[in-house]
Every structure is written in C-alpha cells, then in structure tokens.
C-alpha cells in the first residue's frame, strides 16, 4: 500500500520519477529501478528512491566487487570479527584484541582535499570505536600525481594538512603510512586512512539492532544538508561537473569527534549497548538499514526527532545527509536515560529517534505521515554484477619487454642520486612532521622506519603496523602485484620484530564496467588471496574504491594493504637504521635482474613496462619466519626490507638513518645496475654485531634462506664494490641532503600551497 504522500509537494511524485527516469540522476540504472519496484510491490516515492540509490551504490553495496571479495580468506584461529562490521578484530592474548580497518576518501579529496582527507580520518576513527575499541594509532596511504604541477602540490599539501588537523585534534597519534607520486594519480589522488584500536574481548560491540521495542538512539552532531549523495558521488568518475558537486564534501569537527569517542567508550564500559554503528556513507540510511538487517529485525524512525541544524529538512535530506560525527545506537528499553546522561555530560546532542520492530521493514515517519516503508533485507542485497575481465593488449606486449636493456649502462652512483631524489622514494619528513606521533605516550617507533610500533601499556607486548600499496606492479601483472602487496606489508612488520596477524585492504581501481579494469581487479584479489593463505594473514575488513578515473584515464590499479603484527616482547622491537660501526651486513634472499615496474625504470624512462618482479610465496614465508626468529633470539641489530629502489636505496636509507656509512662487497653475474636497483622480492637487509654474525649466518643457512655476507657498517661513505670494482662511493651526508631535500624543494614557496 502506498505510504501517504509527504506534505512536501515539491518532491517529484512516484509516477514522475518513473516516467522521467529521475532515478538515473541518483545513480540507479533502469534494471535496478525495476527491481526496486518489484521489492516494494509498487512505485517508490522520492525518499524511497533516494534510499535505494545510496544503499545500492557501489560505495555502500560493493555490488561490483562482492563476487570477487568472496575470494579473500577471512578466517583464522585468532579472528574474532571478520569483514562485515565497522572494523576487523583479532585476538592478541591476555583477553585483549586489536581492531583495525582502512578506508578510502578519494573522490572527496580530489575536490576539496583538506576536508576530504580530514573527514576520511574521522570516518575511520568512528569505524574503530564503534566496535568498542579505543583508537591508539592512525596511518595513511596517499598517492598523488607529479609535484611539478601546482594543482598537485595544492592537493598534496591540503590533504596532509587536513589529516593532521583532524588526527592531531582528536588526540590519536598518526604514526605511519606511505606517500607515492605517479602521473597516473594526477586527477584522481588516493587518500586511504587506517585506524588501529585496542579492546578487551568483553567490550566487543557490533552494529546490530535486536530486541523488539528497544529504542534506537542518535548521538552526536546535528544533521545538516552536507554530503547528500556522497556515496553516489564516490561511485562515479570525476569530471568538470564534479567541481559543482562540492557540497558533497562534508566539513568535519574533530573536537566533537573526541567527545563522541569518549562518550561511546564510556557507554561500552558501562555495558549499555545492544548495538552501535557509525553513520558514515549514506548516513542514517545505511546505519539503520544495516543494523536492522544484521539483527534480522525492522526499525521505525520518527524523523521529527532527528537533531537538525538547518530549517525545513526533508526526509530525503535527513536520510541521505552525511553530516559527520554521528553514531546510531540500540539499547535495552529502559536504559535511554543512562545514555542521555552520558551524552549530556560530554555536551553531545542525543535523541531517541525510533525503535526496533519485528517486522523486517524500515519505516520512516515525518510530521505524522509515513514517508517510507521498505523491506530492510532488500536494501542490503543489491543486485550483484558479475563481469567479464579481459586481458589488455599491453599485458601481452610486455611479456617480451626487457627492462634492463635501456638501464644497464647507467652509472650506479648517479642512478642512486636520481632515485633518492624521486619524491616516491625521498624522505617523507615534510609530511609526517605535521602529524602528532607522540600523543598517547605509547609510540615506540614513530614514522621513518619500515613499520610503526605502538607499545601496549601494562604488558610486555607491542603492535607493529604499516600500510603498503602497489600500483605499478599490479598494473603490469595484477596477480603477482597483489601477492607482492601483501607479502611486502607482512615483511615490513616482520622487520620490526612482529608476527603478522592479519590485514585490512583498500582496493583503489578505475571503472569496473571496463573489462580491462575488471581484469585488474579480479587478478589483484586472486594474488592477494593466495598470499594471505600462504602467509597466514586473513583479511578482516576493508574497503573498495572504484571509478577512480577522469576523462577515461584510470589510476594505476592500487590495492593498499594495512598490516598489523604482534611483537611479543619490547626488546624485539627492531628498526631499519644501522646502529653501530663494525656491525656485519647480510643480504637475505635471491637477487635477479627484475627492473620491470621499478622506481629506476620510472625515474629514468618516465614510464613502467615489462613484467614486475616474481614472487615465490613459500620462499617469502620461509624468509619472514626466519627473520622473525632471528630477531627474537637477539641476533639482529637492524632489519630493512628491500622494496622501491632495491638494494641501493635500502643501503642508503639505513646509512642516512643511522648517520653512518658502510662498505659493501658484492659478487654476481648481474650488472651493477641490475644487482643494485632490481626490485626482486623476498629480500631483507640485516645487520648484526660481529660476535653474533657467525651464529646468525649458520641459522639462516640451516633454515634454507639464501644469504650473503656483504659488508660492514662504518665510516662516512657508502662504498659498494661489485666483483672488485667500485660502483658507488658516496658521502652519506650528501645522500642525506638529496634524500631529505627532495620534497621540501618540490614544495618550495613559489608554488601554490
């Protein structure tokens, strides 16, 4: 039966929506609209059309990616909560668990970078504390175009400022992440924000509405007209018209977020909650629908009770608003007063806006009229799209491309300087100096090493965490690239002394309706899944961001992995800097001529081509377990994983960070350029004291890990000889100046900032 029409007669009537296909503006296709009509058994009104359009948008429903995401391994003996809730939860012993997730805010950051990035941080914080966990760290993975362009400098500096603004004010330290630059991100920057939190098992919450008659309570900032159709916006390509969509970017208030965080954790502590969920994408619509669906229940909401900050808001506007810093709670009947008292204490608006029902429907009331009546389950069951992936032409061509040919004659010393000066490799201190990494007094390893480490008070334990993404390798070979993204992230936490526990992923891709993009997506997921299985790191949550393209140009297909690992004892914490003159250097793993997709290739030729490095996951696993065991036995002074720029860059970074040089003697059939800049996987640079060197080397060989003793730490130069010939002789101070100066120079004051 048709719900009564709202007195807001300016909204189009159901017949007009159908006849003029107005639903298309909201992002629904003709087929999807037909399906909505079938779900309801009648024509939807404006509010109902809006609700279906956001719930069935890619951003909320994952309709294009769900069939593929099912391939991820999500289980494990320590997994307490996999994908499907605010964040993933993994047991870390002693009745505690780590909670974490990564999320994208790409489209908003392209249009309004400060608020886009800031609200990305706000959203991911809420996802973590909605699980009942106290956030203890933030990380972010950023990708921009070339810093030669003023607009890119603008997007980059404003995004970093926005992240700093929000994270610093909420009082959660920003301790790690990555920043990469590539022309393919010029019009579509990637801004992925990750949050890590801690809880006691008994405090674990879920976003679920159960118990007929239980009150539904809205807590947090009042609702305005910001961000309406933000979810739909995130599900489309960008164009010049996107500039007009600026109101789709919300403004965040970190002060309110801090109060909201404390209020929610107080409610958790007092055991007040039946269910709690963040109002993020698609705001009140998504939270109410998902909570009801997960609880196999229904909900009735009285929109007159919703705290509003603008006059005459329509039901459509209230349901679709993406105003920030809001949560939806369900508590047991009778406990509403306790919630109100806590909210009042923290100065937060709150209101009982509805109750849980048993009829499986989402019913909305406004000014005494019923303005929507929808079967809840249909909202969370968007029609999935299974598409065809098609291998692109470039992939076939690159099979025979030999990257080394155009690079092998370079002078290694000059090549090193060029690569160190490349913004992707250069020091990111310009960025992380703007982030408060010390608040909370728990940061054992701040930004600047392979992974960040947070100490867990009251225990001997610590958590290592990092974000690692990879657009180039995935572009050149999605399956291999996906596996490498996972392997590298795990390798980074291992080098900090941690056992990788699990990961969260953010998949940043172009338009999945294009067969080549879909091929990239499917391949990457397959590669990641295999690596997760072999390395024992389940995917406990994540995010997909599609349609990252402008004028038909897609970004490099970029999965970003957020990995968390557990360090058993504080004295296992390891960093990448060389520690002491005389320490012995070991190179673990096999080096092959693998320059496809390498930093050197990009810097010298201006493009990437060929196949990316190969990866043997069993070899990787053996390497990681052995390195971790070596660290645990106290035999390791420094550990650094090899990635962009290969061995040369890893050596330079460890020298610069340690403020000391090294003398290296290599022997190989490979050319100097190939050996030094190849990005072969499963390699780590270890140093140890002279007394431990033999024991370590024996252990590594016993475990079947390829190992070469390559030199010693000492002096003020990085000296590398290959087969007896000097190939690099660089003053560490000079290397430091190039590496540290690259980004500040690129951002110099004559540019727009």
């Amino acid at each position: 039966m048709q719900p009564e029409k709202s007195p807001l007669s300016r909204e189009p009537a159901p017949e007009m929506i159908r006849d003029r296909k107005l639903y298309r503006e909201m992002g629904l296709t003709d087929e999807e609209y037909e399906r909505v009509v079938r779900c309801l058994g009648r024509l939807p009104n404006w509010t109902e059309t809006g609700i279906y359009s956001v719930m069935w948008s890619e951003h909320c429903s994952y309709k294009n990616s769900k069939p593929l995401l099912r391939r991820f391994p999500v289980d494990g003996p320590r997994v307490l909560q996999g994908p499907g809730e605010g964040a993933g939860v993994i047991d870390i012993g002693d009745g505690q668990a780590v909670v974490f997730k990564i999320e994208s805010h790409n489209h908003p950051s392209a249009v309004e970078p400060f608020q886009g990035a800031a609200t990305g941080v706000g959203g991911i914080l809420r996802d973590v504390f909605s699980m009942g966990a106290r956030p203890i760290a933030l990380l972010n993975s950023l990708r921009f175009g070339s810093l030669d362009h003023p607009r890119v400098r603008y997007l980059f500096s404003r995004a970093v400022a926005g992240i700093a603004h929000y994270g610093n004010r909420v009082g959660v330290p920003t301790v790690g992440g990555e920043v990469c630059f590539d022309p393919r991100y010029e019009d579509n920057p990637l801004v992925n924000a990750m949050c890590v939190g801690i809880l006691d098992h008994r405090d674990l919450q879920r976003g679920v509405a159960t118990g007929e008659g239980n009150p539904v309570i809205y807590v947090g900032a009042s609702t305005g007209r910001d961000g309406i159709h933000g979810a739909t916006f995130a599900s489309e390509e960008l164009s010049e018209e996107s500039e007009e969509k600026r109101p789709s970017v919300q403004a965040g208030d970190p002060f309110t977020e801090k109060l909201l965080l404390e209020a929610c954790l107080e409610m958790v502590e007092k055991n007040l909650l039946v269910g709690i969920q963040d109002m993020g994408a698609a705001g009140l619509t998504c939270s109410s629908a998902e909570m009801a669906a997960k609880g196999n229940a229904g909900m009735v909401l009285d929109l007159d009770r919703v705290p509003q900050r603008e006059p005459a808001m329509t039901p459509y506007e209230m349901m679709l608003s993406e105003s920030q810093e809001r949560m939806l709670l369900v508590v047991e009947k009778g406990r509403e007063e306790e919630v109100r008292r806590i909210c009042d204490k923290w100065g937060l608006p709150s209101a009982v806006v509805g109750r849980v029902t048993g009829d499986g429907r989402l019913r909305l009331l406004h000014k005494g009229e019923k303005v929507a009546d929808i079967p809840v389950q249909t909202l969370t069951e968007a029609p999935e799209c299974v598409r065809e992936g098609v291998e692109p032409g470039y992939y076939r061509e690159y099979a025979s491309f030999v990257p080394e040919a155009e690079l092998v004659d370079l002078d290694p010393g000059e090549a090193l300087l060029k690569v160190l000066a490349s913004p992707t490799v250069a020091s990111k201190r310009w960025v992380y100096r703007q982030y408060d990494a010390t608040v909370g007094t728990s940061t054992a390893v701040p930004p600047g090493s392979d992974a960040a480490v947070i100490a867990l008070r009251g225990t001997e334990k610590a958590l290592a965490m990092c974000t690692d993404g990879n657009g180039r390798y995935v572009y050149l070979d999605p399956k291999r690239g996906g596996a490498i993204a996972v392997a590298e992230a795990a390798r980074n936490v291992v080098c900090s002394g941690a056992e990788p526990l699990g990961l969260t992923d953010c998949l940043n891709f172009g338009n999945p309706e294009k067969p080549e993009i879909y091929w990239q997506l499917a391949g990457a997921i397959d590669g990641m899944s295999e690596a997760c299985r072999v390395l024992g790191t389940p995917v406990v949550g994540g995010n997909v961001s599609l349609y990252n393209e402008t004028r038909g140009q897609a970004v490099l297909p970029t999965p970003v992995v957020g990995m968390v690992g557990l360090i058993r004892r504080r004295d296992h914490i390891t960093t990448q800097d060389f520690k002491k003159d005389g320490d012995v250097l070991f190179l673990l793993g096999e080096t092959r001529a693998e320059l496809g997709g390498s930093e050197l290739q990009q810097v010298i030729t201006g493009r990437i081509a060929g196949r990316p490095p190969g990866i043997d996951l069993e070899e990787e696993k053996r390497l990681q377990e052995t390195v971790l065991e070596s660290i645990r036995r106290g035999w390791v002074s420094s550990a650094h994983d090899l990635s962009e720029g290969g061995l040369a860059v890893a050596l330079a970074e460890s020298c610069i960070g340690g403020g000391r040089g090294a003398t290296i003697d290599l022997s190989s059939d490979l050319s100097a350029i190939a050996f030094l800049f190849s990005e072969s996987q499963s390699r780590v640079l270890l140093t140890t004291s002279p007394e431990m060197a033999e024991r370590l080397e024996t252990f590594l060989r016993e475990r079947g890990v390829p190992v070469q003793r390559i030199g010693r730490v000492g002096g003020e130069h990085l000296k590398v000889r290959l087969n007896g010939t000097a190939v690099i002789d660089a003053d560490v101070q000079e290397l430091a100046e190039v590496w540290e100066g690259a980004i500040p120079c690129a951002m110099n004051p004559s540019s727009m900032s």
């Binding site: 400022a161 700093a164 603004h165 610093n168 004010r169 009082g171 208030d253 970190p254 002060f255 801090k258 109060l259 923290w346 100065g347 992380y432 100096r433 703007q434 982030y435 408060d436 990494a437 010390t438 608040v439 909370g440 007094t441 940061t443 054992a444 701040p446 100490a455 008070r457 504080r570 914490i573």
Partner: protein
C-alpha cells in the same frame, strides 16, 4: 605523598600527564573535571596539552573561563606548583597567569619533532635535577607555539631570569628569543610548549623528561610542605 591534580577540559590530552606522574613519581595524581573549582587538597597542578575546546577562538581562550581555573588561580596565589604544558601553557597565558601570547607557528604548519632544548636555570622547583646550560631532548607537537611578547616584557623576562627553556639549534616555530618555556616572577608557575611527559622512557625516544617531574617532587619534599 605529593598530590597532583590534572584538570581535564573537553578536548584535553590529559592522560599523558597523569600516566607520567604515576610512572615516574608513583605519587597520587587525579584527573580533575573542568567543572570542579576546589583544588585546595592538591600540592601541584598540571594543565595538560591537547586541544581544549578544539582550540576554538584562540587556543586556551575558552578553557581559561572554566570553573576549575578558580582553583588553579588559588593554587598559584598560594605558591603551589602550577605547570602548563603545550595547550596548558596557552591556557596560563590567556588567563594572565603568565605574560605574553601564543601565536601560530611562523611556517604555518603543525610541527612534531624531538627538539633540543637548553635548560637556562637549575634554580627552579621544576629544573633542580637539570644542570644550567644543559641540552636535553624533549618532543614538541604544536601548531601554535610561536611565543610572542612586547620588548618591555621580553626585557623583564630576561632580567628576572624568567626564561626557563629555550629552543637549541633550529627554532621550530618562530618564538621570540627562541623561548620554549617561562616562569612567573614568583617562580612557582611554569609554562612550556615542549612535552616532558612524552619523554619519560628511553623507548619513547628520550627520557630527559623524567627529571622535570623528579625536580618538582624533590622541591616539594625539601620545602617542608611534605
């Protein structure tokens, strides 16, 4: 036992100070709600860092009118030890308990770093366990740490030995005379932008903040107030 109060305003990062006192001194320390006016049972007050009231209007401008500031003024007037760290320093300036004002960093960015500081005097309750002229490493984390005062005030501060800490090496925010921390004329109210409570264990990157707290305890014990 020396009793510490750490007033917590909406937006404060107060627990860092609470934990530092607990871990370093093992003395009783209470996080105190900003609405509580009576601090007479405490021997020392630490106004913590963070972003009280979101730094709205000006950092510390709203916090200065919170009820608890009544208790803070009283403690200061009675000669008890009052410390303002980061945002706490900003609150003391807005409240007029210390002279001058705090402005945005001259390079306009938030700056978080381990900073070298010179301890200018070891005669104060807060610095006895340091050596005058010593250089220590303490983290800074602020967007508005650019201390400003007029020439007259600066001359007075210098003359009276009220400048307690200066930035050594690079001046991270443009503060006049590289001032990182000052004390009132009576010597019992100290404000500083760097965070000693974030440098109390080597694994944090530096433990140079320990002596900041031990100095206060030592002073309190020796002053007969114990």
């Amino acid at each position: 036992m020396m009793r510490f109060a750490v007033p917590i305003f909406p937006g404060s990062a107060g627990m860092d100070c609470v934990r530092a006192v607990e871990d370093v001194l093992a003395q009783p320390v209470d996080p105190v709600c900003h609405t509580q006016t009576d601090l007479s049972s405490y021997d020392a007050v630490i106004l913590p860092g963070g972003f009280s009231y979101g730094d709205y209007l000006r950092p510390g401008a709203l916090a200065r009118f919170a009820p608890v500031m009544e208790g803070v003024r009283e403690a200061a007037a009675k000669g008890k030890l009052v410390v303002g760290i980061g945002n706490g320093f900003q609150i003391l300036l807005e409240a007029g308990l210390l002279p001058g004002a705090m402005r945005r960093n001259d390079h306009l960015q938030f700056r978080c770093d381990f900073q070298r500081l010179r301890v200018e005097t070891d005669r104060l309750p807060f610095t006895r366990d340091y050596r005058a002229g010593e250089t220590i490493r303490i983290p800074i984390a602020h967007g508005q740490g650019n201390y400003h005062c007029d020439d007259e005030t600066l001359a007075e501060l210098r003359q009276n030995g009220q400048i307690v800490f200066r930035y050594a090496g690079e001046n991270p925010n443009g503060s006049v005379d590289a001032i990182a921390g000052i004390v009132n004329r009576e010597g019992n109210v100290l404000g500083l932008m760097p965070h000693p409570e974030r440098a109390v264990r080597e694994w944090m990157g530096s433990a140079d903040g320990v002596r900041f707290f031990t100095s206060m305890l030592k002073y309190w014990r020796e002053s007969g107030a114990a």
